[in-house]
């Protein structure tokens, strides 16, 4: 694979493959940044299948498209099944000598959390189990933001959405989000990772590792949503950083073939100093109803601590050596 080297933001800015200007993503939306990092990670030809959602809607309104690579949108819940068809066609046509390019094409499916955790979970599960050679990118903004901020199973505890509103009795969503990264690890996807656009070098390396890996791979990228999380639009990358620094969003990776097939975990970033979760919660109006409820904040802190500790134990027991 032809990987590209970018060490500074200036390097990244010079990389050509990105969404074209004029796309209609919200001010401050980080997914154009996520896509720039994704598409800059390699020179290999890419073919992308995109689930219905913000990204699809804002990047392709006919007669315009912001995509520099072959791209298909089929429906909401089937990006993984769609790319599995594309990848199968590639294999068959290559075998029959009908593919024009000598270069190896890489296949990527992209979905939001609604299209991945919820309605598209079966399609993703099937495609991973069948072992198709593709990378699934989940841009995770923790809710159905395209339809106007409804809860998904990625929405975190106590976040207020339009279908889990903070009311006089109920303080927002009452369930923890399910850990889809664990679910993908349980599928024995070859390479699984969590990433953040704030730590873009880490994210780019993960994309490169995923694309170098034969078989199904998965990266869960946090994608703060300005209207959905309700914060000033210049804070998206900062919030992604605070999510990582507060250990709310753990940057880690997993390889199923490590440790003789037992699998291996690696936490890629350990915050040097403790950052209170309140720093992450406070700028987001979806949490404003709990800022004066220390017992609810403690719930979140405990949950974060449990997740971190669990992952540290896994890493200790099954370390992933580079």
């Amino acid at each position: 694979m032809a990987t590209k080297k970018a060490r500074t933001l200036r390097d990244l800015a010079r990389m050509k493959r990105a969404l074209a200007p004029g796309h209609r993503a919200c001010a401050g939306c980080p997914f154009p940044v996520i896509l720039k990092i994704l598409m800059s990670a390699t020179d290999d030809p890419l073919v992308i299948a995109n689930a219905t959602g913000c990204m699809e809607v804002t990047s392709t309104i006919f007669p315009y498209t912001a995509w520099p690579v072959p791209w298909i949108h089929n429906a909401f819940e089937n990006a993984a099944a769609t790319i599995s068809g594309v990848e199968s066609a590639y294999k068959a046509l290559k075998r029959r000598g009908k593919i024009k390019t000598e270069k190896e094409i890489k296949f990527i499916a992209i979905g939001g959390d609604g299209g991945t955790y919820d309605i598209g979970l079966q399609s993703l599960s099937g495609a991973i189990e069948r072992g198709h050679d593709f990378l699934y990118i989940l841009y995770n903004n923790e809710g159905y933001m395209n339809t106007g901020i409804q809860r998904s199973s990625a929405t975190p505890m106590y976040a207020s959405t339009t279908t889990s509103p903070a009311g006089k009795v109920i303080p927002g969503k009452l369930q923890w989000r399910k850990e889809i990264t664990d679910i993908m690890i349980a599928h024995q996807a070859k390479y699984v990772a969590q990433a953040s656009p704030s730590h873009w070098v880490d994210f780019m390396k993960k994309v490169q590792k995923a694309l170098e890996t034969k078989g199904p791979t998965f990266i869960n990228v946090i994608s703060p949503c300005q209207p959905g999380w309700n914060y000033p639009p210049d804070m998206s990358i900062e919030l992604a950083r605070l999510a990582v620094e507060s250990k709310y969003w753990i940057l880690y990776e997993y390889r199923s073939d490590a440790n003789n097939g037992l699998g291996g975990y690696k936490i890629n970033y350990r915050p040097r100093k403790e950052v209170s979760i309140v720093e992450f919660l406070k700028p987001q109006r979806r949490y404003r109803h709990i800022l004066d409820r220390p017992e609810l904040i403690k719930d979140i802190e405990d949950h974060i601590r449990r997740n971190w500790e669990r992952l540290e134990r896994l890493e200790k027991e099954l370390p992933l050596e580079e």
């Binding site: 392709t60 006919f62 298909i72 099944a81 068959a92």
Partner: protein
């Protein structure tokens, strides 16, 4: 008409469809098992396992994913096939519309089976009738021989029209019924179909295209209109594909409709699928033994709707019994009757139409059903007016 070599073998409908798929050797097959179509997928996966085809077989986790993968593969330029029935087709429903609107000539073998509830595994046409507005070419076959040939000609029709096509057999009646079938040589089938020449190709990396963009008020209608026009034009493509089939193999195949003893008919029956065989026998009995001037029109292709052929063969009959193996639950009976009425309504000469729903959930369709239908039409001819637009035959009321 150069006759190609054929070999006579005993096959069930499912075996015949699977064999046609083997001979076609598509680039990609994505499928999921469902009674009574399971065998098609099963047999095909054995062909793959034995290296008799080099198709990329994608054993998906649902029919929704089957059709989704077919769309992805067809958009990547592949020749793509699948098979399903009933609930499976219903689960594909959302993606059927996307396949046709993206102009992807996917070919699907469907074994007709009643939709739940109550759950049932036997034949009626409620499954494919539920997909009638999805923009697919729909071919209903009368027997196993025709099912076999129809799968091959459907691929040709679909690729000429750049529209997806489905070919049906009646569940169990044909899918599991064994017949002597004349089959072609693999090489001849492959030569006849040649290579698919896609309209566009997702894998053409030097010419990146965006497939399936958001299309709002300012363009959607034009694009939908273009798709509608493609359906208008598909009729010609379907005729051409059948003519080429006939010329290549030297075998005749009815195209949209098949008239039977209609020339001087006062009464006519319209029916689709395997019951047409029984219907033709009933016509013989009623004509030859009872002296009733009755004929039959079998509809083979339901989409695009053959209104011209309907007008040609049926406008001159006096009493028309339309037999639907599905009910629209609209108090007017089945979709076939509604659409035939529309095809004839504006003509100055047109028959009196009455609808009969029959054979739901695999209820046996004996000759008596057809006698009953014609007796009812004679009762109408005698000046009586039926209480409803539809009667139900072969059911305990």
């Amino acid at each position: 008409m150069a006759k190609r070599k054929t070999t006579r073998v005993a096959l069930t409908g499912n075996e015949a469809m699977a064999l046609a798929m083997k001979q076609i050797n598509p680039d990609v097959v994505a499928a999921y098992p469902i009674t009574p179509a399971t065998e098609i997928v099963q047999l095909f996966s054995k062909y793959v396992a034995d290296g008799e085809v080099d198709t990329e077989f994608v054993p998906v986790e649902s029919e929704h994913s089957a059709m989704s993968a077919c769309v992805g593969a067809a958009a990547a330029g592949a020749r793509v096939m699948t098979g399903t029935a009933s609930q499976g087709l219903a689960l594909m429903h959302e993606i059927l519309y996307i396949a046709s609107a993206l102009r992807l000539p996917i070919t699907m073998c469907v074994v007709n089976r009643a939709l739940s509830a109550p759950i049932n595994i036997h034949c009626d046409h409620s499954d494919t009738m539920g997909s009638r507005d999805a923009g697919w070419i729909q071919i209903y076959t009368e027997n196993v021989q025709e099912a076999y040939a129809s799968v091959i000609v459907a691929v040709k029709s679909a690729e000429k029209a750049n529209l997806p096509a489905l070919v049906t057999t009646d569940g169990f009646v044909l899918s599991h019924g064994m017949e002597a079938v004349e089959i072609f040589d693999d090489e001849d089938v492959r030569e006849f179909l040649g290579e698919r020449k896609p309209l566009y190709n997702l894998l053409d990396i030097d010419n990146p295209i965006t497939i399936g963009p958001l299309d709002l008020q300012d363009y959607f209608f034009e694009h939908k209109r273009a798709q509608i026009e493609a359906v208008f034009e598909s009729k010609k493509h379907i005729y051409d594909a059948h003519r080429e089939f006939e010329e290549f193999f030297g075998v005749k195949l009815p195209v949209f409709v098949e008239p039977y003893r209609l020339d001087d008919a006062e009464y006519a029956i319209v029916v689709m699928g395997s019951s047409a065989g029984t219907g033709k026998d009933a016509v013989d009995v009623m004509r030859d033994e009872r002296g009733i001037k009755v004929g039959l029109l079998r509809m083979r292709i339901f989409r695009p709707f053959p209104f011209e052929e309907i007008q040609k063969y049926l406008s001159k009959v006096k009493y028309l019994a339309v037999m639907d193996r599905a009910d629209s639950l609209n108090t007017m009976g089945g979709p076939l009757a509604t659409e035939i009425a529309r095809a004839l309504y504006h003509l100055s000469e047109r028959p009196i139409i009455h609808n009969f729903v029959y054979g739901l959930g695999g209820r046996d369709v004996p000759l008596e059903n057809f006698y009953e239908v014609i007796e009812k039409m004679q009762w109408i001819a005698a000046g009586n007016t039926p209480e409803r637009m539809v009667d139900y035959v072969g059911v305990r009321e």
